[in-house]
């Protein structure tokens, strides 16, 4: 287990930060997903409010722009009765020349209990977790192209609720895996739950070189990759990929890899279609699929709140158990 993976666990294997899904044991992932389930009502809606984190302060520390992820963390913290501070410091501190380290020390002095961190540099939440006062929990809300563990957990929760045990499923991830922290974290999470058939589908310019070592099979032809899969995960295509000559156009991407009804028929008849959002209609996904019965994209959003509640509750409970 490498640095980030080890740093997030206590010596007896409990979760004190959530930095990456890499190296998370099956028992911990299952515990996280089970806890998230308890925050969902029988109708699958997140419970409105529980007093678990009353009197605790959650700081959303976003060095990179994000409305959706921050909002779900915000809602999750409120539903746990925590006080929430949203800090959008992607330009302010940096433009004043304040280092990440000093920003962190200032916020600590304001007596935060939990930092939710998004940063453009891979490893930044690891840097923070390594240096915070011991009783503060750190949750990675996305760092560079490294990891986005809460997104992976909400994907796993969605898969488990819709299709059952991931160990018995075939999962295809389509699109720009190379620049995707979502894909990387999902792959580690699926591997943690012993999923044996993980496929990556995309052109060579958008697939990372280390896929085989992660236990993933690569396909350049979507028709081959989709055959019989239970879960299709589409990734958002960023416009920058065209500017850096990794792709000719969105149109050609849709023609080669876009999820259409016809292509979806190649998957298992009851396959689900997932997407971390926001979706690009007509680029990764055709309208009829996005709005069709197999898409669970909005369920993912709902599950995301429950998962983030679970992660906050578990990490803070570990931190408090250690220091009170």
């Amino acid at each position: 287990m490498h640095g980030p993976a080890r740093l997030q666990l206590t010596e007896d294997g409990r979760l004190k930060h959530l930095l990456t899904t890499e190296g998370l044991p099956k028992s911990l992932i299952t515990e996280l997903l089970d806890t998230a389930e308890t925050f969902l009502s029988s109708q699958g809606q997140p419970v409105k409010k529980v007093p678990l984190l009353r009197g605790r302060t959650v700081v959303n520390l976003f060095f990179e722009n994000s409305t959706r992820t921050r909002t779900t963390f915000d809602i999750a913290a409120h539903r746990l009765s925590a006080d929430v501070v949203n800090l959008d410091i992607r330009t302010s501190s940096a433009s004043k020349g304040e280092s990440l380290f000093d920003t962190l020390k200032n916020l600590e002095a304001m007596q935060a209990d939990l930092f939710v961190v998004r940063h453009s540099a891979g490893g930044a939440p690891f840097f923070i977790a390594n240096r915070v006062t011991p009783n503060i929990a750190v949750i990675n809300a996305g760092d560079g192209t490294h990891a986005h563990p809460t997104q992976a957990l909400l994907d796993l929760l969605t898969i488990r609720r819709e299709k059952g045990d991931p160990a018995k499923l075939s999962v295809a991830i389509v699109g720009d895996l190379k620049h995707s922290r979502v894909a990387r974290s999902l792959i580690h999470g699926l591997r943690g739950l012993h999923c044996r058939d993980i496929r990556a589908i995309g052109p060579a310019t958008l697939l990372p070189s280390d896929l085989e070592t992660l236990g993933v099979t690569s396909f350049h032809q979507i028709e081959q990759g989709l055959a019989g899969v239970d879960v299709v995960v589409l990734l958002r295509l960023q416009k920058e990929r065209m500017q850096s000559a990794l792709l000719p156009s969105e149109r050609e991407f849709f023609n080669l890899y876009g999820m259409t009804e016809a292509r979806l028929k190649l998957a298992h008849p009851n396959a689900i279609v997932m997407h971390p959002g926001p979706i690009n209609r007509g680029v990764e996904i055709a309208n009829e699929v996005a709005d069709g019965p197999q898409a669970v994209i909005l369920d993912q959003v709902t599950n995301g709140i429950a998962v983030r509640m679970a992660v906050m509750a578990m990490t803070l409970s570990t931190q408090q158990g250690m220091h009170t």
Binding site: E22, A121, G122, G123, G144
Partner: protein, 421 residues
């Protein structure tokens, strides 16, 4: 200068006729036949090894202008503690070294506060602009031993070609960092580890393509070029082929690239954030084999001291480089193996770098050569600690490790020098 004689020693000086001898004399700062010094005081070497003082072709002394990172005083002391008696300083200071006045400033400060010999390099183009050639003849006359483009790219390959041609006409060695601008950037080798950690990637194609073009320019200009800090197996092959074709090229590798590979980044420790990234184990082995078979001529420390704040940030945002000069000899011993003999490793930090910078009075224990030498116990051990570290840069991965070798004494120009004094 007083004369002296070393007795009861084992001389290890690759390529010297005195290799293996047990006695040597020093008089007037040069090695002499001990029989010519009947009255000289004796030093009993306790049957330890006496080697030529090490020569480092790439040291960041940080002075002038970057004294918050290190100074000539602190870093030359660190060098001596590592068995180094000559450092070739980089021009990446503030101001950059690109005029005779800058060269003289470095030399004067070295004379005033330096513990070992300092040989400056200067920039090939004014201010590192990559557009206007520096006054190379004046730089040479001021005491600069080689010219380099430093960290800035040439504006064009044509300017580079002109710089090489001009340097050739003056007979000045040129140091290049093989790099293709098209593939430059990134802070970690584009391989399994960095991909997994989501770090910005540097493709080995940067060095490989850059070197390919550089070699064509060497062939076309006839300039003598030294490639600094090769990192890939492919570049070692290219250097070997170029030498076989008779091109006037040499190359070096940094100690860090011989000791570590990309897996060192797994902990995201910024101490392993280097300007030229650590690559695969295959590359590391090819680099070491290149040193052993002579394809790679020299080993450099690329010693880069930093203030703590420079490494106190997420990995990609930290400054590059490692502070390691003061364990240089220990690291050479650590690299020693049945495949990589101490002879070959030592040659890469003594006689061969001396030839590259045309200072052939250095780097060898033989009669008439400058009396720079190190007496050390290869069976001894050393555990570096932050409290006794001489370098101002504590950005080192070697603290609290036990490294082989213990230095007994260092002599420069026949005078005993002591980093600890």
């Amino acid at each position: 200068m007083s004369a002296l004689i070393f007795e009861n020693i084992r001389i290890l000086s690759p390529g010297s006729a005195l290799n293996g001898a047990n006695r040597i004399g020093i008089d007037q700062g040069v090695f002499v036949d001990p029989n010519s010094l009947p009255e000289a005081p004796r030093i009993d070497g306790g049957n330890q090894l006496l080697i030529p003082g090490l020569i480092d072709l790439r040291t960041h002394l940080r002075e002038p202008g970057l004294e918050h990172k290190g100074s000539i005083a602190s870093e030359t002391r660190a060098a001596v503690a590592g068995g180094i008696t000559t450092v070739v300083s980089t021009p990446n200071t503030d101001p950059l070294v690109d005029s005779p006045a800058d060269v003289r400033l470095v030399l004067e400060r070295a004379l005033y506060s330096g513990l070992c010999r300092v040989l400056p390099t200067a920039l090939l183009t004014q201010g590192g602009s990559g557009t206007h050639l520096s006054e190379m003849a004046a730089l040479r006359d001021a005491g600069c031993v080689a010219l380099t483009q430093g960290d800035q790219p040439f504006q064009s390959r044509k300017v580079q070609f002109n710089a090489l041609n001009y340097a050739k006409s003056l007979g000045i060695p040129v140091i290049l960092n093989a790099e293709s601008r098209d593939f430059a950037g990134g802070c970690a080798h584009a391989g399994r580890i960095a991909t997994g950690l989501g770090l910005p990637l540097n493709s080995p194609l940067s060095e490989i393509l850059g070197m390919g073009v550089d070699l064509e320019l060497v062939e076309a200009s006839g300039a003598r070029v030294h490639f600094s800090r090769l990192t890939t197996a492919r570049a070692v092959d290219k250097l070997r082929d170029a030498k076989a074709r008779g091109l006037p090229v040499t190359g070096d590798v940094s100690l860090a690239h011989l000791i570590f590979n990309e897996t060192a980044l797994e902990e995201l420790d910024p101490v392993f954030h280097l300007q030229r990234p650590l690559r695969t184990e295959t590359d590391r082995q090819a680099l070491l084999a290149g040193v052993v078979d002579g394809t790679i001529d020299a080993i450099v420390t690329d010693h880069s001291p930093h203030e703590p704040g420079a490494k106190l940030a997420p990995f990609p945002e930290t400054d590059t480089g490692m502070s390691l000069i003061e364990v240089t000899l220990n690291l050479l011993l650590k690299l020693q193996s049945p495949e990589a003999g101490l002879d070959e490793l030592l040659a890469a930090m003594t006689s061969r770098p001396a030839e590259i910078i045309e200072q052939t009075d250095l780097g060898s224990i033989n009669y008439g050569k400058t009396a720079d030498c190190v007496l050390f116990d290869p069976e001894g051990r050393r555990s570096p600690e932050t409290t006794t570290w001489h370098s101002a840069g504590q950005n080192s991965p070697f603290f609290d490790q036990t490294l082989p070798g213990r230095i007994v004494g260092v002599w420069i120009d026949g005078q005993s020098v002591d980093a600890h004094a």
